[in-house]
Symmetry: C2
Subunit: 371 residues, 2 copies
């Protein structure tokens, strides 16, 4: 065996599409000695997480908890529980993550009807209406904050259309939760998933999810077992809820400690102040990036405040400049993904990474590198 | 929102079925500031984990990595990648975790042939031989260390029988890895999964897995897509291996830092010394528990050194005594699971929890409580 050294990492400034920087209080929670996954003290931690997630999701949904895996597993959790072979699913695709939802829905045996928009634009409600015409699909799914394109998707009209067609509304809120308004109950969202490592600024590894009463009714009416045992919410909810907690799997205890602390920070700040902070720093960054010759991919009214998708100034070498930012300034910005690979950057201002100083150090470094 | 206090947990002494106590060096690694999940420094961390896991699994398998979720997801990862609808699977069931494998295999659409043994006994090779007679199943699966019963399952004969029948051998090593001999290559194991929180003594949330060449060939010969996108190793391996790392999901960065440090500790001690330590403390505990009137569930030759399944002395109230151990001595021991609920204890001596002092404090507390 070759000798493996002590872990040595650089002190990064995380301004990519997540993970974002983590508050020292959250890092401290990660390093607390463990308790057992069925310890009464851990049950209290789970209850705290559920209560705080309800606040952050703005929902009364009882079945609100954190899947013991990253956001992609949260996506899969929502879809495998709601879809059965032969179901129809209308999946909105305007970036990588909508495409991933379609892929997973197909693996559930669903007949997928794709509703598309060009990358960088939102899904138009009239296109959804056309797809729903004459159909009674099981669900309509859509990405609220497309991390691959920087688009903030309006949900009101799509929610109305979905419910008029008798469908459930499933929303990807991986990048939006805790960074911009997301009203699960008021907007009629039936199932929603997120990630711990974006605007909540906990380490990656947990996926907050919430299922509403219509989604639960659909799950209870299933004719077949959920194809994933690990993600089957009819089993998982016995561990996360109820009078007596039943063992299902071993939750990532330390990651739950961290998420709990991250949620405390979110609620101490308050959602309105937090959303305003994300808008303010987005605006500060936007003005300066445009002066430097970057162009925003998305029209102003649909721009995400926490994920800035920008085309590079002419002549700027994407990979070389990102590498210099990382090596010389220890700043991470995100590369393009999918059809935007090599064409755009994704500059994240998420959670603890949405500060005036993050904006300043990035701009100063960019002025150096591009000079 | 009700005010949520700072996290306050007790300093537990973890002697249940996992998580086990975590070394301060591992807790420190958990609290390191994060780097991005595609940062070159994180790619190095992933490479270190793969290399060290190969040492611990005693394998040359290239596809050796950590699933970004707990052990149950590792189980599901092995089965969903290897099984397709209509496949036959011979599943050995002699406790909760064999039963879980059968359940997952059925959810993959496989025809499951159960080979059973009474709880507390190993699976007999002749019963496996009978089940395989006239069959060419896709795989035979078996639990190496049944955490629900305390049985150490011999694998040599079952491996030979499985391969003679043209089947792959899938092994659950959640509780055995790092605590007792497990020779993946020498024993002909084609796919194996474990957990981070048992004898490796990292926090829960990662599941080390390894796939051998026959398993890879079976995956490449699939006629259908793997039903789980999140666990599809043909996608995950692009993130964990290869010349250029492709984004698949966001790995739990901090948990990977911790697993890396935990593996360093395992290899600094060395596998033979570590296995001997687990045997020694098991023996110390066994003698004293028997003096106190506890009876081991499993015959001596099949006993797990890291998980001691014992029947309580007559008249001892299971739940009340466990609760006193937790409340008055901050010691966690495990309850019985499945058909052993209320009938046995599971006393873990895993990884960092396998020390002479752990044995001593438990015995002293038990003498107090049972006096």
């Amino acid at each position: 065996m070759a000798h493996t050294d002590e872990l040595k990492t650089s002190q990064r400034i995380l301004m990519g599409p997540g993970p974002s920087d983590v508050h020292p209080r959250v890092l401290k929670a990660m390093s607390m000695p463990l308790v057992g996954h069925l310890d009464p003290e851990f049950v209290d931690v789970m209850d705290d997480i559920k209560a705080m997630l309800r606040e952050v999701f703005q929902t009364e949904n009882d079945l609100t908890f954190a899947v013991s895996a990253p956001g992609s597993a949260g996506m899969e959790c929502c879809l495998v529980n709601l879809l059965e072979p032969g179901d129809e699913a209308v999946v909105c695709v305007h970036g990588v993550f909508g495409g991933r939802m379609a892929e997973i829905a197909e693996r559930c045996g669903a007949a997928v009807i794709r509703v598309e928009a060009p990358w960088g634009e939102p899904i138009r409600a009239d296109v959804v209406a056309r797809a729903l015409s004459g159909r009674r699909p099981k669900l309509v799914s859509v990405v609220h904050a497309e991390t691959s394109t920087g688009v903030l998707q309006p949900l009101g009209e799509i929610s109305r259309l979905a419910h008029d067609a008798g469908a459930l509304l499933v929303v990807d809120a991986v990048t939006s939760l805790g960074g911009t308004e997301l009203k699960v109950d008021e907007w009629g969202i039936d199932a929603v998933y997120s990630g711990s490592q974006k605007c909540l600024s906990a380490p990656p590894g947990l996926s907050p999810v919430s299922f509403g009463p219509r989604a639960l009714a659909a799950i209870e009416a299933r004719r077949t077992k959920v194809q994933s045992w690990f993600l089957d919410v009819t089993l998982v909810r016995g561990y996360w809820g109820g009078a007596r907690r039943a063992y299902h799997h071993t939750a990532p205890v330390s990651s739950c400690f961290a998420l709990r602390e991250a949620l405390r920070l979110v609620l101490e700040e308050g959602l309105p102040a937090r959303f305003e902070r994300h808008r303010r720093h987005h605006e500060l960054l936007r003005r300066a990036l445009e002066e430097l010759g970057f162009e925003f991919v998305v029209a102003p009214e649909y721009r995400l405040p926490m994920l800035n998708a920008v085309r590079l100034p002419a002549g700027v070498d994407d990979a070389a400049v990102r590498r210099r930012l990382l090596d010389e300034y220890s700043i991470e910005v995100g590369a393009g993904l999918g059809e935007f690979t090599g064409k755009i950057w994704r500059v994240g201002l998420m959670g603890e990474s949405s500060t005036v100083n993050h904006v300043h150090v990035l701009l100063a470094a960019l002025r150096d590198v591009l000079a």
